[in-house]
């Protein structure tokens, strides 16, 4: 297990390096001059030249890259062009907000999506199942920012005053109010995923329920409740966990659009705001942070597999699939 963990972590390094090279190059190739954007169009040429020198934009690209890489390895992501604050601080400020949002969204996805899928599988092809399946497909099809806009319409115009629909209250200020301020954004983020998880749980449950060992357990007179909750669900949740894991990666990257609609200052907003003014250190810092989270979440998911289903730890060689 330890060896497997080390191997997976090791294989992440080249991927992350490649990501950093591509991110760096793409950003520099994109049109827009951060120096010009920071001093303004009418600034004298000397000021522009000074700004360029301050931002070290005159160095060759590979020099810029390697000095950035050397700093990054030491945990220093540079300073923002706009407010001269360390990028790590900027990320540190925004991260808790995004995490709070992501955790709430994940809770919604799990608490609503998995039971819906289980019910759907147990009532396969009955009316309940059909209704859940139609609702899930509908849910998957509505993009989350559309859900977000409708929530703002409902709680901002039709029924104002029930739920906050704009802005964010820090959790340090007022815990309840803070949770309330992220409730609607979390619902918007979760809505499309709930359908996906319900569908996946359903098909996975059906697959497991048709296995021989389930029939054997039934034949031996094991109670149906035990079969479903103890034997079936555990195996059926494997693919669901993969999907939830991948979604955690996305959620931690911050949903730019949902954050924009609700005015939540999370990581996603930081990414788009910094990109708009070509604040390279911030943009690439956030991009690398998201990439690291994404890669590591995938590794954790793979390892979790082994914990949940010991057969996989032994290796694929003995199993059929």
């Amino acid at each position: 297990m330890l060896k497997m963990t080390a191997a997976r972590l090791g294989s992440a390094v080249p991927v992350l390096l490649l990501i950093s090279v591509v991110a760096f190059t793409l950003l520099r190739l994109a049109p827009g001059d951060p120096a010009l954007l920071s001093v303004g169009m009418e600034a004298p040429p000397e000021a522009l030249a000074k700004a360029r020198a301050d931002m070290r934009l005159d160095d060759p690209m590979w020099v810029q890259y390697f000095s950035w890489l050397a700093d990054m390895v030491r945990g220093d992501l540079g300073t923002s062009y706009s407010d001269k604050a360390p990028v790590t601080d900027a990320i540190g400020d925004r991260l808790p907000i995004t995490v709070q949002l992501a955790v709430m969204a994940l809770l919604f996805i799990g608490i609503v999506g998995i039971p819906l899928g289980v019910i759907s599988a147990l009532r396969a092809n009955k009316l309940t199942d059909q209704l859940i399946r139609i609702a899930s497909l509908g849910g998957i099809s509505v993009p989350n920012f559309v859900v977000a806009l409708f929530l703002v319409l409902i709680f901002g115009w039709w029924f104002p005053g029930i739920m906050p629909y704009q802005g964010f209250t820090p959790i340090g200020e007022d815990v309840v109010e803070s949770l309330r301020s992220t409730l609607l954004p979390a619902v918007a983020l979760a809505a499309p995923q709930v359908g996906l998880v319900a569908r996946l749980t359903r098909s996975s449950m059906l697959e497991v329920l048709s296995q021989d060992y389930v029939s054997a357990a039934r034949a031996m007179g094991v109670r149906e409740r035990v079969i479903i909750w103890k034997d079936t669900l555990r195996n059926a949740l494997l693919p669901v966990i993969t999907v939830l894991g991948v979604q955690t990666g996305f959620l931690l990257g911050g949903s730019v659009v949902v954050e924009t609609v609700f005015g939540i200052p999370g990581l996603g907003r930081l990414l788009v705001e910094s990109f708009a003014i070509r604040d390279y250190p911030v943009t690439i810092g956030v991009m690398m942070f998201i990439a690291v989270v994404f890669v590591f979440v995938n590794i954790v998911v793979d390892l979790l597999y082994g914990v949940i289903n010991p057969r996989i730890r032994v290796g694929y060689a003995s199993g059929k699939e």
Binding site: I19, A23, P143, V146, W157, S210, V256, T260
Partner: protein, 318 residues
Amino acid sequence: MTTTATTEKFSVHRADEVSLLRRLAARKISMVSLIGVGVYLAIALVGPFLAPFDPAALGDDPLAAPSGTHWMGTDSAGRDVFSRFLYGSRVSILVGFLAVVFALVLGSLLGMLAGMKSGKLRDSAIMRLMDVILAFPLLVLVPVITGILGQRDLAVGPLVIGPVVLIAMAIGVVLVPVFARIARASVLAEMREDYVTAVRSFGGRSRDILLRNLLPNIAAPLVVQAAFGLAMAVSVEAAVSFLGLGVQPPGASWGTLLADARQYVTLGAWWLVVFPSIAVAVFVLVFNLLGDQLRDELDPRAKTTTRKRKTSREGASK
């Protein structure tokens, strides 16, 4: 024996294509999705000719609710939302189609090239590149690529590539890994088939094997993915344009219509939100349904119900 297997595969495949539409039409759900596809195609083709007003013409009645003259109301500049919706639908659908065509061609080619040399340097180079694309936040990648591509005036012969096509290409790039992965996985499976060995032993050139032998046999999962890809491309366009990073005003698309709507939602201008939202959501739904149905028809190995899956597993083990 191996050669007959080849011809058999081809002939079976051709027969599939001929009756595919008819077989899809025989199912109720597929019929619904086919009608949906038809409606969207019609809107994209003839919609702008039906527009009652100039979509950019400013009116003197801003933020008016839907009425007999303005079917979908007017926006903050008094423009007729229905006309803008018709023009915008064409742009959104066009971006979606172009993006998927781009991703389908490039992704399949890269995936097949990788799959033919699995485990070799070419394979890992291509697939790592795909991993890198997947690891980027999509909503930054699309505008960055659009920006990079748009720096010079690109042209194919006499056709100058406009901003709409650039956005489509950028979204296409984001979708490439999905198609590449599917193409690679399918090629890996096909390479073990006897007919490939046969063609190779006759000295068939790689390019011919790729295009003439492999492509027809791995087309099914790619076509299925194209339907899902369309749904995805259209919602990505809507999201990117919504953030102001895609289609630029005064041009209209579902995304820019929603961006215009954002500030006026809390003033109760529901008509600005509702119509483009429904258009996006129903489009995604229709193509997701179509994808599901196509998969059932074309790709029996991926069937969703357990009983069917069992039979196909027996078939695969033969």
